[in-house]
Symmetry: C2
Subunit: 425 residues, 2 copies
């Protein structure tokens, strides 16, 4: 892991910043000492490009850690919202390149102003940081009234998600006008990014909810091994992956040809976020047989109970003893399978979480589900409706405690800003 | 990072476990497939020894991630408590060696019983996992009544911490009969360890509070660089380190020669845990000058404002313009310095945390302070009393929201169990 970029900025603070001209101030003795000791800046090999046709953080091979935050916009001024998106874009481009969030950074002055970076990522590499931005339904309208001059611009696919059986959504973990998904292999880098975007938003937007994920539960590239969720099972074996070009176009990206008010979403996607609490204590007292039966796969290998290895297609017709199906009719792998869901697929990018205890003697732990889909009306709602009713795993061991749906605009070209297609000049 | 140990166990499941004898059951097709594909077990180089004179996780070079949990013991039966400590010891020895928590593991049967490991660490190395156990005051007595036959065994140093100015302790984040500190470079491994200890404790103890830390804030070895806290400053520059043999004896370990009822603590230590919420949003709007003045060090290098580099001793007598001290009289580095605190030192081992949002538009973030000291009466309470009153940083930007003090017994010899000196046969 290279550590040069942000350290390189430190050295510049001493030689070109305020420090060199203000040696009398006590605080600058240290700056000068740093300047002499730092190596020259070198390119950072640990970065994911920010600009591009699509936003990064979707097909990017899933990083190890997540910090996601939703924001409520507290201004009603369209220009202030646009200014915020521009400021976020500039900060995101810098931070994903391993640089500090602002031009003057954490330590290179002016000495009598708040630093434009909070500093806790000084000395760390970018850790493959990606920042992915999305817009919630409430950005477009609230209580029946359009906001920010966005009358008629809300995409039809950006629905209000229905109530699903078993939902126990907490208001303070649900919704939001804006969302930012920060993924990095270093959690300090992901937290630093969200924290600095929140700092930049001061007076315009504030944090509605925030979620840390400590372990990814899906691979989004064939080069990655399938990780395990907190049920101890491999998760995301059948995930859509970066290499699946045609599947991505069909199931993940918003296609060209949308009606004019929605054309700004072409090349974008829809982000479904669901905070899924797992009843792990109850799960841990069930037998291995029951666990594998509920999932429909083996625990060790992740192979379907109809046989084979992890990537063998499940055979839902296969029968065993007493003519019972080898994969039960209520098994998770069956209910969630594309063949049972009109062929739809998702690109899942979720993370395991543990948020302290629940006050009842249990860990508050589970799966923070994240999926990117071309249209949640076809690619999320029907499947989640089926799972919430028929999938015994969902019914007995899961409860959804938070939820969000966000329109993720396409990527940003150099000089542009995130979501600018929504705000014609 | 080696991945062999737990994968090695998987292969044994296929050849020696229930799987080989039960090929008819659908679930075992997968197990058999695994068995053929797995490499033979190899030694894991990524482990910290569990047994020893001292518990690991104190002077062990600080790992990157933390999961700490406090437990309430819900049985009042001394034998059940001892049985729990024995079970925890066996599981801890296994997990810190990169093995599964129980003899039958997550996948190697019996097929009709709950697995003795929850499985989410399958395929992961130990990641230098350490598990460090401690006993809270309420293990010894509650509401004035002794528990578990421990009359007179509570060490005098295991005090009830006083209320400090500015404390805003939440009951559900404070206290606990037992504590377990899990540290690993892989958060999934640390969470897995706490989760499996909680599973083992079912019916005897349950989770009172649990805290994840995503980034270490102290180095405990001279081989480690000093990390940064969420104020963006290096933290723990002056920490006691593993290499400081004499200082450890003086400031961290409980010495020999204690009165008989406390002899079981010889070679142990006391763990102070404090959940310190930082008002980072307010901090982020202060100038670099004010930030450095409050800390008493430069932000870039961490050098004292009296000059030099990070490890230069601060000169509290140094004066600058208008005869003002270069390090302010209320600067954190001054108030916390051993020279201002009767020469006492601590071994700090804290972690940065972010626990979602506070419902008021801010991140709930800060420092989970952990320190190991020879006696909290001399080595924590006076310093914290001074800081809570005189340190402007503490007064203006910090609020303590959780607290715990635990007696950490010495290490476990092979065949013994943690804390056995407290329970003579």
């Amino acid at each position: 892991m290279t550590k040069v970029t942000r350290r390189g900025l430190l050295s510049m603070a001493g030689v070109g910043g305020v420090g060199a001209a203000a040696g009398l101030a006590a605080g600058f003795l240290g700056h000068d000492a740093v300047a002499g000791a730092e190596p020259p800046p070198q390119p950072d090999s640990d970065t994911v490009p920010f600009h591009g046709e699509r936003q990064a953080g979707i097909t990017t091979p899933a990083q190890d850690r997540l910090h996601m935050a939703a924001f409520d916009v507290v201004t009603e001024d369209r220009d202030e919202l646009i200014a915020l998106l521009k400021d976020w874009t500039a900060a995101a481009a810098a931070m994903t390149a391993g640089k500090e969030a602002g031009a003057t950074g954490a330590v290179n002055g002016p000495y009598d102003a708040p630093p434009e970076d909070t500093g806790e990522a000084l000395g760390l590499s970018a850790g493959r940081l990606t920042l992915t931005f999305g817009f919630g339904p409430t950005l477009f309208e609230k209580d029946g009234t359009a906001r920010f001059g966005l009358e008629g611009r809300r995409p039809a696919a950006l629905i209000d998600l229905p109530h699903f059986p078993g939902d126990d959504l907490q208001e303070q973990r649900t919704g939001g006008d804006l969302v930012v998904q920060a993924c990095s292999d270093d959690p300090q880098v992901a937290v630093h990014a969200i924290r600095n975007l929140a700092r930049i938003a001061f007076g315009k937007a504030h944090v509605r909810w925030s979620q840390l994920g400590f372990g990814r539960t899906s691979s989004t590239s064939r080069a990655q091994q399938t990780p395990r969720n907190l049920f101890g099972f491999k998760d995301g074996t059948n995930n859509v992956k970066a290499e699946d070009g045609g599947l991505l176009d069909e199931h993940v990206w918003v296609p060209a040809g949308a009606p004019a008010p929605e054309a700004w979403m072409e090349g974008g996607s829809y982000l479904v976020a669901r905070r899924i609490r797992m009843h792990i204590e109850i799960w841990d007292r069930t037998s291995l047989r029951e666990q594998e039966g509920l999932i429909g796969r083996t625990k060790a290998e992740g192979a379907p109970l109809s046989g084979g290895t992890e990537f063998t297609a499940p055979d839902f017709g296969a029968k065993g003893w007493a003519d019972a199906p080898l994969i039960a009719t209520d098994a998770h792998v069956r209910i969630a399978h594309p063949s049972q869901n009109s062929g739809v697929r998702m690109l899942r990018r979720g993370y395991n979480f543990t948020d302290g205890s629940d006050g009842l003697g249990h860990l508050d732990a589970g799966l923070f589900f994240i999926a990117f889909v071309t249209d949640p009306r076809t690619h999320y709602v029907p499947m989640q409706s089926a799972m919430a009713r028929q999938d015994s795993l969902s019914v007995e061991y899961l409860v959804h405690t938070g939820s969000g749906l966000f329109a993720v605009p396409p990527g940003v070209r150099p000089g542009g800003y995130v979501g600018e297609g929504l705000f014609p000049a």
